[in-house]
């Protein structure tokens, strides 16, 4: 069982999908010759040919829209958007077309397709290269939104997304592409889209997060446990459909929760989760659900990243504020 990082796990998943399913094709900017700016599709064009892996013009609406047409015709396209910040020109295709075809044809036509996009900051990138606007996708009925944080889940969730009968927006945390390695079976397995992953069990407080912020969340949990706090960590690797039951079950038990995300506070997906918790577990709550998030500004450039990104300190502090009451 090979030890791979998240980027390699994704590459392996794509290779596996291309190998086992003729209907799978990949398309996106620079994914062929160069294997993508993050090398997620490295070697796939050489291995599977120019009729399976397509370089495209710089035209995100065209990429998503043509993949959508292919999906209706029975293929299983996997489109890559080079960075989440460049997905917005395709937002219309996603919300008005991809997400709706099943609804407007009462299941007659469907769009089984995946739209992959690297997201998140922390690498000192240029403007628009550090976006974390998952909330604008998780609000769209008719698409699923998935975001792995481990190599194992990355492979399993991507394969599940490709097999899913409905369209999936698949967010890839840039900061974690090469952060850790783990053993990932080189077989065609999948991780179920939907249920949250209880990553660590505890009974005093629940930390809830997803994607790149899982790194800080895990570190904060370890810090808290060192201090003797019993922490439950919930990874919401599927933002839509949201596993409310899984989240509520945990907070019903611990009575305390902190939600952590990288996106700006206002209108971020943490609001949905906090709202859900108070809706369904209010009488279990000993303290308000706190949100540790980015601030209400554009993700900043390199010199200010430290001001913006939630860090272990902020998570631990919020946990203690929550635990104190």
């Amino acid at each position: 069982m090979p030890e791979v990082n998240l980027a390699q796990a994704l590459n392996g998943a794509l290779a596996s999908a291309l190998e086992t399913d003729d209907r799978v094709v990949l398309l996106g900017e620079d994914i062929g010759r160069t294997g993508g700016v993050f090398r997620i599709t490295d070697g796939l064009r050489d291995r599977f040919g120019e009729n399976r892996v397509f370089d495209t013009p710089v035209a995100e609406s065209g990429i998503v829209g043509s993949a959508f047409g292919m999906a209706i015709a029975g293929m299983r396209p996997v489109a890559e958007i080079q960075f989440m910040g460049f997905s917005y020109p395709a937002y219309d295709q996603i919300i008005n077309h991809v997400a709706r075809i099943r609804n407007r044809t009462n299941h007659r036509f469907t769009a089984p397709m995946v739209i992959r996009m690297p997201y998140g900051g922390g690498i000192g990138a240029a403007e628009h290269h550090s976006e974390s606007t998952e909330a604008i996708y998780a609000h769209i009925p008719g698409i699923k939104v998935v975001v792995p944080s481990t190599p194992y889940d990355a492979r399993g969730l991507l394969l599940a997304a490709i097999e899913d009968p409905d369209p999936v927006v698949f967010l890839e945390p840039i900061r974690l592409y090469r952060a850790v390695k783990e053993d990932v079976p080189d077989i065609h397995f999948s991780v179920e889209i939907g249920p949250v992953r209880v990553e660590r069990t505890g009974d005093e407080i629940t930390l809830i997060s997803w994607g790149a912020m899982m790194k800080e969340t895990r570190a904060a949990a370890s810090r808290l446990e060192e201090d003797g706090v019993s922490v439950e960590v919930i990874e919401v690797h599927t933002l839509s459909p949201l596993d409310r039951d899984g989240i509520v079950a945990s907070v019903d038990k611990t009575g305390r929760a902190v939600v952590i995300h990288e996106a700006a506070l206002t209108g971020g997906f943490g609001g949905e989760i906090a709202a859900t918790i108070q809706e369904r577990a209010l009488y279990s709550l000993h303290a308000p659900v706190r949100r540790v998030t980015g601030w209400d500004t554009v993700f900043p450039l390199k010199r200010s990243e430290g001001h913006y990104l939630p860090d272990v300190e902020r998570i631990v502090n919020a946990a203690y504020e929550t635990l104190e009451v």
Binding site: P57, G62, G69, D92, D245
Partner: protein, 388 residues
């Protein structure tokens, strides 16, 4: 930029008249000197310009289809006024373009067209029943019969053209022999999505036919202001794609042009653009008041170019038209439309459960919860409160 394969577009280019414009009328959509010159076969008075490549029986069939389409259009306008349909976008005046284009397609070919393209969609296999059901405000109108590869009419302007590129691309990759036709208006050519669709089709040489009905207006905005290019067809140059301008009120010319484009596509020669110059005789939709932006004179001039009348005259000249036949056609059409209306109006109202059951293949956890809570006048959306 790679060079055109030899032969590509020859079929279409051959249709472009060399001896100046073929259309007598100077219209707002098209001026005498604009390139490319306009291809046409039947004059408004029914006389023909060239040998017609179809039989009299085929002409009669096209005419019958146009009569049926017009009957549907009138019926829909009337129903909308009675509150039986949601907003309706009439196609009166564009029957030749729509029937001609659809008639050029093969069984199973893909179609991605618009809210105004009921005639085109119908002729491509979309039952009147479902078109009407959709217009009553029922999503089930989009549930096409198996084998009919027509997408539900696109309501957004511009977004659907690229779908026809993807559909055709899939056919190409799977060595299918279907092509995809996308129909859109002059207004849609202003959207960025037009550009991306044209470019993708050309780059990947997908078997796509871009069929533009230039009816002179994007709602109130005349084509003379929408663009400064000489024509819409000439925009094909920007993509290294053949483009042709055809008299959109000439059903036979449209049929010939689209057939040629479809043949090119089917034989691996890639996409092409056809601009069918036509006119919307009615309002933009039942909510529109055209007197705000155009003169009656202009509309009257176009009434003279009615696409049905010229074929009737042509058939008359050939002794293939009679009052009785016309009456019979109209009666048949009415009957078909009436029975489609009857069917559509007898479909029981959609339920709350149905509404939430077609978002995904299977209702997800949030939807299952909402299905439990909801129903008419049901509770709030937040879920049950646990009191652990």
């Amino acid at each position: 930029m790679s060079s055109r394969k030899s032969g590509l577009g020859r079929g279409l280019d051959a249709l472009i008249p060399t001896a100046g414009p073929t259309s007598g009328a100077v219209t707002r959509q098209t001026r005498e000197n604009d390139r490319p010159a306009m291809f046409g076969l039947i004059n408004p008075d029914g006389s023909v310009r060239d040998r017609l490549p179809i039989t009299v029986d085929e002409m009669k069939a096209l005419y019958a289809d146009m009569v049926e389409a017009r009957t549907f259009d009138s019926k829909s306008m009337a129903m909308q006024r009675q509150g039986r349909l949601a907003t309706y976008a009439p196609f009166r005046g564009q029957e030749a373009a729509q029937v001609g284009a659809a008639a050029a397609l093969g069984d199973g070919d893909w179609v991605a067209a618009t809210y105004r393209d009921a005639a085109l969609n119908w002729r491509a296999g979309y039952p009147w029943e479902l078109l009407i059901l959709g217009r009553t405000g029922d999503e089930r109108g989009g549930e096409l019969p198996d084998g009919v590869n027509v997408l539900p009419p696109s309501i957004t302007v511009g977004g659907h053209m690229i779908h026809a590129v993807g559909l055709a691309w899939a056919e190409k990759l799977s060595n299918g022999d279907r092509i995809a036709l996308t129909s859109f208006g002059d207004g849609a050519t202003s959207e960025g999505d037009f550009h991306e669709a044209m470019n993708f089709a050309a780059v990947y040489q997908t078997p796509t036919v871009f069929f533009c009905q230039n009816n002179g207006y994007a709602i109130s905005y005349p084509i003379s202001e929408q663009t400064r290019s000489e024509s819409i067809a000439i925009k094909a140059e920007a993509y290294g794609m053949p483009g042709i301008r055809v008299d959109g009120n000439d059903v036979i010319a449209v049929l010939v042009a689209v057939r040629e484009a479809a043949a090119l596509a089917r034989s691996g020669e890639g996409p092409s653009l056809i601009e069918a110059v036509t006119y919307r005789l009615g309002p933009h939709t039942t909510a529109d008041d055209p007197t705000r932006y155009r003169d009656q004179e202009e509309t009257d001039a176009w009434e003279e170019r009615d696409p049905l009348v010229r074929v009737r005259r042509l058939l008359e000249q050939q002794g293939a038209w009679s009052e009785e036949w016309q009456a019979q056609l109209e009666q048949q059409a009415s009957q078909r439309i009436e029975s489609a209306v009857e069917w559509a109006e007898s479909v029981p109202p959609p339920t709350f459960e149905e509404m939430l059951s077609r978002v995904f293949a299977e209702p997800t956890q949030p939807l299952r919860q909402q299905l439990r809570e909801g129903g008419d006048g049901g509770g709030s959306g937040g879920g049950e409160v646990s009191r652990a």
